[in-house]
Amino acid sequence: MSPHITTSSEANGNVSAATARATERAAERAEAAGPRPVTFAKALNTALADAMEADAGVVLFGEDIGTLGGVFRITDGLTARFGVERCFDTPLAESGIAGMAIGMAMNGMRPVIEMQFDAFAYPAFEQIASHLAKMRNRTRGAVDMPVVVRIPYAGGIGGVEHHCDSSEAYYAHTPGLKVMTPSTVSDAYRMMREAIASNDPVVFLEPKKLYFSKDPVDLDALRTEYEAAAAAGEHPTEGHAAVARAGTDATLIAYGPSVSTALAAAAAAAEEGRSLEVIDVRSIVPFDDEAVCASVRKTGRAVVISEAPGFASVASEITARVQERCFHSLAAPVLRVTGFDIPFPAPKLEGFFLPGVDRILDTVDSLQWED
């Protein structure tokens, strides 16, 4: 996984000088100290710990997240450090977890809950769709829902049935929710801190194939950067896509687990003399129309990439938005590379299902380059 070439502040252009300076300082310090490789999991873990340190109202609960530290170890050490009252296991009941989080948020806390796997979040769907998403609206703004629902999602790890769903469309289709998905180690930290600080409910989708990927990242610098942005009232990742790789000929629009695939495709295309820009959506809701359209207007061609089945998907929504907004800049129809409209395959078959470099490059090739 390669780090972003540009920072989030360049991508969204609305970040203050203070934040820009902090980012710069962070980068300088990182260079001087030579940051060590950090896993995506460690970045999330550090973000959770920092948020708990900063706000006594932040409480974590879910299945096996206490003593064990979660099946992916994202909450490793947090019970020991903050006590069993702030990071604890619940009985096995996802609706119970989500419903209790809603009540705790009503009564002044900031719960961060873990769903063990994507498909095991479905029992919580009623609480998420009927209450978490609607409570603020129903109470005319009187009751905010500062809840983060963490969900390890998507495939690429050879997981068995019910462990590999890309469930983002269900949440993105539910007004009242925000939906975020990081694809880099730095963004894992940044976006988790922002999600916890948000007064809106955030469905935080963690691409599980990235948990143990590493990047040289200075977590102290990221903390400083986050604190400066927060102090300035800014949210550099919510609603802001990032340019993961700059290019000129076509734009690949991807998020979460598909960003690394898109970057690999762009690297392969570069060898053949084609310059592809890669946009990391990061924030599915709210969506960054501006950054995505700026890229497509520049390149004139776009492919949207996502693991989820393509029918009625987030990829479909992005495709429609780009077509509506960039029609006169487009040299070809916007195309999609998505999962097929089938249940997620068994481990030995997932390679046929997941968008891969070849399928992406074939699709790029069909973007009417001749006329």
Partner: protein, 395 residues
């Protein structure tokens, strides 16, 4: 033994074992509901002898004091008046729908009055009278049914959840409120309500189990009005009673005559005290009857006989309480008149509030969805604003 109700409130927290030791009974005897319903005042309005109230050792319920009973009675009269006023307003087209609790008012009143200032209540669509009795303004309560917004009051101001329609989902919110309070060291008690049919839902199970496992001060108050729309209780559950369901969670269950306001005040009053001192959650099942159709849109004659309804008329909570308090010498003409006047004030407030057309601002539709507005909603809001202004110009 210090933390048992009736003794020091500030004493150290009790737990299930110490509660059982205090009552001198086994855990099984504590958890299991009494063999029958607790009834203190019978259908005719007479006080039952103590040995005849359905209580058992460790399940005794002292009679609430006169002042408490008179206050509750006043709310009972107001509640009945409000129910009937609201049904009339539906017939007059002033409200879209009203699920009346006519016949269940004793449950409604007791649910609200057993709680202290800082205690929370989580009601259902059926529980408007309880919401008002907890102190929410009557017209604010009716906003949900008037149809100009989904809820009309700030839950935090009144410590009352928004009346919930997705069955038993609200019980978990009650569990969460209690959990947060416990983590902060506050002695808040939560009373979370649902109907008999709703006890079949998964969230009922999850809420009871969570409350028990985390030892939270939550009273689950089930109004068993015999029907879930058209489906009778016998098709929901074959448990000996709904109160028995508590035992499986390690929680005490009790059943009470839901048309006996005195018994309800006594049983819920003790449950709140126990919960506040650390006993963990309790389940109280009240046997009552939905005297009217599920809502104005329902036709109850399709699934139940008139004779059944008539039989329950004789058990009416209001008549019984009036007789009891009169015989007790607590209700002279002056008191009766004062209470009737208060009930009429509420009815008048409801008429005044609901006969007015509410001010509607279509643009508000976008304003509360998110704490931090999204560009997409800002765009859609502008679109509607433009439409509205062009409509305005055309006129």
């Amino acid at each position: 033994m210090s933390a048992v109700p009736g003794e020091s409130q500030a004493a150290e927290a009790a737990d299930l074992d110490s509660v059982c030791r205090h009552f001198g009974i086994s855990v099984e005897d504590y958890l299991l509901p009494s063999r029958g319903q607790i009834q203190i005042v019978d259908e005719g309005g007479s006080l039952r002898p103590a040995e005849d109230q359905g209580t058992e050792p460790g399940h005794e319920y002292p009679l609430p004091d006169d002042e408490t009973l008179l206050k509750a009675y006043e709310q009972l009269v107001i509640g009945r008046r409000a129910n009937d006023q609201n049904s009339a307003l539906v017939r007059q087209g002033r409200m879209a729908v009203y699920p009346s609790s006519h016949g269940q008012e004793a449950c409604q009143v007791a649910a609200a009055l057993c709680l202290g200032q800082n205690d929370w209540m989580f009601p259902t669509y059926r529980d408007s009278v309880a919401v008002m009795a907890k102190g929410v303004d009557p017209v604010e309560t009716m906003v949900l049914f008037r149809g100009d917004w989904h809820g009309g009051y700030d839950p935090r101001q009144y410590k009352v959840g928004i009346q919930s329609t997705p069955l038993t989902t609200q019980l978990l919110h009650g569990v969460g409120v209690a959990h947060a309070a416990k983590l902060r060291g506050e002695d808040t008690v939560v009373l979370a309500m649902c109907g008999d049919g709703a006890t079949s839902e998964g969230d009922f199970h999850e809420a009871l189990n969570f409350a028990a496992v985390f030892n939270l001060p939550v009273i689950f108050f089930v109004q068993n009005n015999q029907y879930a729309i058209s489906v009778p209780l016998s098709q929901q559950s074959v448990a000996p009673s709904l109160a028995h369901k508590a035992v499986g969670y390690g929680m005490a269950g009790e059943r009470v005559d839901g048309n006996d306001l005195v018994a309800l005040m006594a049983v819920l009053g003790r449950a709140v005290e126990l919960a506040r001192t650390g006993s963990g959650p309790l389940l109280v099942e009240a046997h009552t009857y939905r005297m009217q159709a599920h809502t104005n849109a329902d036709d109850a004659t399709r699934y139940r006989e008139d004779e059944e309804v008539t039989a329950w008329q004789a058990k009416d909570p209001l008549n019984r309480m009036t007789t009891y308090l009169k015989n007790k010498g607590l209700l002279d003409d002056a008191v009766t008149e004062r209470i009737a006047a208060h009930a009429e004030d509420t009815a008048q407030a409801l008429r005044d509030g609901l006969n007015q057309d509410p001010e509607i601002d279509p643009l508000e539709l976008f304003d509360h969805v998110y704490a931090t507005q999204t560009p997409q909603l800002a765009e859609q809001r502008a679109l509607l604003a433009d439409e509205l202004s062009r409509e305005g110009d055309a006129k």
